[in-house]
């Protein structure tokens, strides 16, 4: 069991990031001359065999009270107990994944490499590319241990369809009463909206929108694209938009395929949270706004004029494609 991938679920369904992690693990396994085994924990409504489409040769499904809901410590112990002969563990760096990975590293006596954005340069020793210095640097980091936990940035390497056996096998978790944990009391998840860290397309706006009531323009554009909405720090600080929409160094860090920034000047703290986006579009009335230097495409002009036109153009495009 050389490469083990933790396939995260939410309410029984696989997260998109899990398919990415499985196809990453399958490619790592291939370069090591071995197979990828996926592990699911908790109740599943999705078909575990689906992970075979992304390269999992085997899928171990762990159920039972011990793992019914996410707990980083219990999950880590269960995974390490089940896959004690793994050389590499792959975890997607979602909010849960980032909490799980360090516990898994300690439970498996493994080295931990996080914020990984590409397939390994080498698998013996494990050497991977990772983001550093808040998008201003790239580090190539090697594991010096026999076992390594690789935590990848969601949406950084992409999902690849790779057919594999996908043999499903039920497994049982050993309980460990000595683990001290935080007990979940309640979960407040926004319904019907795309969670910002998972969104492929993001429409974001700043103080250039002048007042919170003007956000209907931003929401209309986001809706036309099927995008999530985000905002700059000043906008969340003055309460025009919820803190959960704040992207940037102190807010949420994102790397969508498309980031459209409207009326955001592009302070370095903002860029630190969004510059890993694959394509950046900046719309700003100030031609000297620093954000244009970090953008792929730009439009200089009044957002109140441009954004509705862009929404119409997107709708027209969608109607024909």
């Amino acid at each position: 069991m050389a490469v083990v991938v933790v396939a995260e679920t939410w309410e029984g369904k696989f997260k998109k990031a899990s398919f990415e992690a499985v196809s990453y693990g399958a490619r790592v396994a291939k370069s090591m001359g071995t197979e990828a085994v996926a592990i699911t924990l908790g109740t599943l409504t999705d078909n575990p065999a689906d992970l075979g489409k992304y390269g999992a040769s085997k899928i171990l499904t762990l159920a039972g009270d011990e793992v019914a809901t996410f707990n980083n410590a219990r999950y880590a112990t269960a995974i390490a107990g089940l896959a004690s002969d793994a050389h590499v563990y792959i975890v997607s760096g979602t909010n849960n994944g980032k909490m799980l990975a360090p516990f898994l590293a300690v439970a498996a006596k493994a080295a931990l490499i996080t914020n990984v954005t590409a397939l390994p340069e080498s698998t013996s020793p494990i050497r991977v590319k990772r983001g550093a210095f808040s998008a201003k640097g790239i580090a190539f980091t090697e594991s010096t241990a026999a076992t390594t936990v690789i935590c990848i940035v969601p949406n950084s390497v992409g999902i690849e369809a790779l057919a594999a056996a996908g043999e499903v096998q039920a497994a049982s978790a050993q309980s460990n009463g000595n683990i001290r944990v935080a007990k979940i009391e309640s979960v407040d998840k926004v319904k019907g909206k795309i969670p910002l860290p998972e969104a492929e397309l993001v429409v974001s706006a700043g103080r250039g929108m002048k007042a919170p009531e003007n956000w209907n323009l931003i929401e209309d554009l986001a809706e036309s694209l099927g995008a999530a909405t985000a905002c700059s720090k000043p906008v969340s600080d003055i309460g025009w938009r919820p803190h959960s929409e704040h992207v940037g160094q102190t807010g949420i860090q994102i790397n969508p395929n498309l980031y459209i920034a409207i009326g955001i000047s592009g302070a370095i703290q903002h860029l630190a949270g969004v510059s890993a986006s694959k394509t950046i579009v900046v719309i700003n009335s100030d031609a000297d706004a620093p954000f244009f230097k970090a953008a792929d495409y730009g439009i200089v002009g009044d957002a109140f004029e441009i954004v509705p036109k862009l929404t119409e153009a997107i709708k027209a495009f969608k109607a024909h494609n």
């Binding site: 980032k98 050497r127 210095f133 309640s186 979960v187 495409y297 730009g298 441009i306």
Partner: protein, 277 residues
């Protein structure tokens, strides 16, 4: 009334005495450890040296890691409402001391510097774990990550090494007796959990708001000069990883400007060139 587990026999009698006079829940012996990273200022130009094998600190201004600042202010609020002591811990060389003094100036009571180059997350967490095991803290607050190596590892590894509950990224915390009610971000929402102290949290904005962050005042700066800054030798632990080289991200090509009269062109570029819609 429940009391905290008292770590040192010498403080036990004082704690019991104080408890008698404590009408509301208070913790005269509440010990908070705030982990402080010494990092390049957000606006620094990042360069590498020694054939791109190490970060070039020449001419770089260093600061308290911004995520750690939220935790430090939250610790001050706890101290101000229920009492206790705030110790900061930093794994770093003497070069980190101005940053540590700043944390003391903001209001920490004392500081510990573990005298070592912070080689990787596991090395740092192992150093902190040895310190926590020796001194016994009730609450350890880290930042969700440091803005230099962006590992986000130390808080979790530390909690795992200690077998303590861990919550990250923590955007809110209240203490009631020995129970911490902790709010964390999940993908697209929030989760509220409860844990019995001691716990490790890794915080960010939300733990306190940015406008509430404390900054050092003149009195604080003067007092910080005489506050204890203890230097401890590192325990013998090997790092689990080594960064073999650094690169700078490829420079972005110049922005393609599109006329506001020709919005359809942008849509076409996003579809045909960028292939994102």
């Amino acid at each position: 009334m429940k009391t905290l587990k008292i770590s040192h026999p010498t403080t036990r009698s004082i704690a019991l005495f104080s408890q008698l006079f404590c009408l509301t829940q208070c913790y005269p012996d509440m010990k908070i450890l705030v982990c402080i990273s010494h990092v390049p200022d957000t606006t620094s130009k990042i360069n590498f040296t020694n054939n791109n094998t190490s970060f070039d600190a020449a001419g770089v201004q260093f600061i308290i890691n911004p995520y750690d600042e939220f935790g430090l202010t939250r610790a001050l609020w706890i101290k101000e409402s229920i009492g206790g002591t705030i110790t900061t811990a930093t794994v770093g060389t003497a070069a980190a001391e101005p940053t540590i003094r700043k944390a003391l100036a903001i209001g920490a009571d004392d500081a510990i510097r573990i005298d070592a180059d912070p080689k990787d997350g596991f090395f740092v967490a192992s150093q902190l774990a040895a310190l926590v095991k020796e001194n016994g803290y009730d609450l350890v607050i880290c930042g969700q990550e440091s803005i230099d190596y962006n590992g986000g590892q130390v808080g979790g590894l530390l909690a795992a090494l200690l077998n303590w509950p861990f919550v990250s990224p923590c955007v809110g915390m209240e203490l009631n007796g020995t129970t911490a009610t902790i709010i964390r971000e999940i993908d697209g929402g929030k989760e509220i959990s409860k844990a019995e102290l001691p716990v490790v949290i890794a915080g960010k904005k939300g733990l306190v708001e940015e406008k509430d962050l404390r900054i050092p005042n003149m009195r604080g700066i003067m007092m910080a000069r005489t506050k204890p800054l203890l230097v401890r030798p590192a325990v013998d632990v090997a790092a689990a990883t080594a960064t073999v080289r650094f690169e700078k991200p490829a420079a972005k090509s110049a922005v393609k400007l599109i006329s506001k009269e020709n919005i359809a062109e942008l849509v076409s570029l996003l579809h045909n060139e960028a292939k994102v819609i």
